[in-house]
Amino acid sequence: MDIETIKSPENLVYAKPELLNDHHMHYCPGCSHGVVHKVIAEVIAQLGLQEKTIGIAPVGCAVFAYNYIDIDWQEAAHGRAPALATATKRLLPDRLVFTYQGDGDLAAIGTAETIHAANRGENIAIIFINNGIYGMTGGQMAPTTLRDMKTSTSPEGRDVATMGNPLRILDMLALLNGVCLATRVSVHTAAAVKKTRRMIKKAFENSMAGKGTSIVEVVSTCNAGWKMTPEEANDWMVEHMFPYYPIGDLKNI
């Protein structure tokens, strides 16, 4: 079988989603962001919402999310994406409005905006990438960094007595009446990606149906920040992240 035969449409078993453009992604090889971007692009197209979607990009590794998915985007200040999304959705109630935020953006500097948007039950979807570290700035401690985990600002490991405990912010958000979906997923296996696609679709449908705030936490790897190979990072995530951030629904109304 030659390359042309392999590439022919009838033999195609996988294609890049139409909304994902050809920009070279700046993410490190092995990083979870690329997979989540792909899933989001697929779901928007599947729901036929490409002309009705406004994405809000964060500050952090995903700051350039707007370069990869061909929809309208707003780039927020660090932590403020839910505030932008609040106004956008209220002013354009028939649009799909989602934020894409990392753990520093959502659970540290943007805690107030996140909690209050969710408490008001803003009809937005929040895609929350939790990899337990600040990737963009070079591997500093995040609010979600695990106990004893080494980062560049916790070189001896996170000492919970002085640095606080890793924050399970999804558990806090699930308590709020404004939240209709609070779920944890991952993208380290094909089955996990499939589940993630299903939950992001649900979150987007909730936004369009006006059911309240949906939060999809993607427990992710940062192999570069964790200083591991992609494969080691996946194993480490399963062994260490999953017990503290268990996969599954906390709330799904």
Binding site: E51, W73, Q74, E75, L84, A87, T88
Partner: protein, 353 residues
């Protein structure tokens, strides 16, 4: 009605799409009036009490990114919290209206009137090289009128605009003529007026991305140059000011907002004593009436900048006249309002005797 109430009514009538704010004295009547009027039932205007001024200004960013007429209002400590968002909006070239009904600082300061945020407003406040179109009303009527003017300028130049008021103008009651009710623009009209707005990507265009980020220094310098060129146009075309009894003046008072109101009485008192005093009232604090002040330097013997602060605008007056005539400052701080007599005494002591 009160100045603060006039802002709220004028916003509804102008067809503003969204107001996002957090209560703070002495301007809470703005959001209170909006909540009482409930414009979401009539014009469809969104009114939302945010969890903080930080959230409020970022809601304004989101709304501005959609090409909507969006605004917030606050007072000095709250406006300090908004500086990040204002810088981001200037960087992303987003229109919006921010109202600052100033109170005395620094810090928590006092709830009494002040003009001590002049520097913060016209010299930056937030980070980076940017400018804020700044209108300074001196009456309840201008509080109402400047809502439309601020949005007009803000959208014409894709830059945030501020109404820099103070506790006197916000709280005092005067008669006001409100504008006719306008209908809010449709999304289609916004698409035509603001082709850059994030309303959802239609197949006929590339994605719209609202951002102030550019990591390539060469491109970032070009972005800055483009923004600076826009500022030069605004400085050339949008200066607004009022002259009161300037034609024969030997001395010029320079004052904005409530200080200008006080100076009107000072002019009367001075002229009764045979001292020919005039007033130049900058209406736009940025762009500042540089050329106009320079012209008066050839006519008058001295200028007195009267402000409710320790001396801020006086620096711009001095820059304008560049040493051609003596320029002095008179002000009160901490919420104390100067009296017309006090201004006249200061004029005599600092410039005449």
């Amino acid at each position: 009605m009160k100045g603060n109430e006039a802002i709220a009514h004028a916003a509804i009538r102008f067809g503003v799409d969204g107001y996002f704010g957090y209560p703070i004295t002495p301007q809470s009547e703005v959001i209170e009036t909006l909540m009482e009027q409930a414009p979401w039932k009539t014009t469809g205007m969104v009114v939302l009490q945010a969890e903080s001024e930080v959230a409020a200004i970022n809601m304004v960013y989101g709304g501005g990114a959609c090409g909507k007429y969006v605004m917030t209002s606050s007072s000095s400590p709250g406006v300090s919290l908004m500086q990040e968002g204002i810088s981001y909006m200037a960087g992303a070239e987003l229109p919006s209206l921010i109202v600052n009904v100033q109170r005395g600082g620094p810090g928590l300061g006092t709830i009494q009137p002040s003009q001590a945020d002049y520097f913060q407003t016209v010299k930056g406040g937030g980070h980076g090289d940017y400018r804020l179109i700044t209108l300074a009303p001196d009456s309840v009527q201008e509080m109402a009128d400047f809502v439309a003017l601020a949005f007009e300028l803000s959208f014409r130049y894709r830059n945030p605009a501020m109404i820099l008021s103070d506790g006197v103008i916000g709280q005092m009651m005067e008669k006001v003529r409100l504008p006719q009710q306008r209908r809010r623009r449709t999304d289609q009209e916004i698409r035509e007026q603001c082709p850059w707005a994030t309303l959802g990507r239609t197949p006929d265009r590339a994605p719209n991305v609202i951002t102030s980020l550019e990591l390539d220094s060469e491109v970032m310098e070009k972005n800055n140059e483009r923004i600076q060129a826009k500022y030069r146009v605004i400085e050339e075309k949008e200066v607004r000011y009022e002259e009161v009894q300037c034609a024969d003046a030997d001395y010029l008072l320079v004052a904005f907002g409530s200080a200008a109101r006080i100076c009107m009485k000072t002019i009367e008192l001075a002229r009764e004593e045979g001292i020919k005093v005039g007033l130049l009232r900058p209406i736009t604090l940025w762009p500042f009436p540089m050329k106009e002040l320079r012209r008066y330097a050839d006519q008058v013997k001295g200028m007195l900048s009267v402000e409710l602060n320790a001396g801020q605008m006086v620096e711009d007056v001095r820059l304008a006249v560049n040493g051609a005539v003596p320029v002095q400052h008179y002000g009160r701080m901490g919420g104390i309002i100067p009296t017309p007599d006090g201004v006249l005494d200061a004029l005599k002591k600092k410039l005449i005797s």
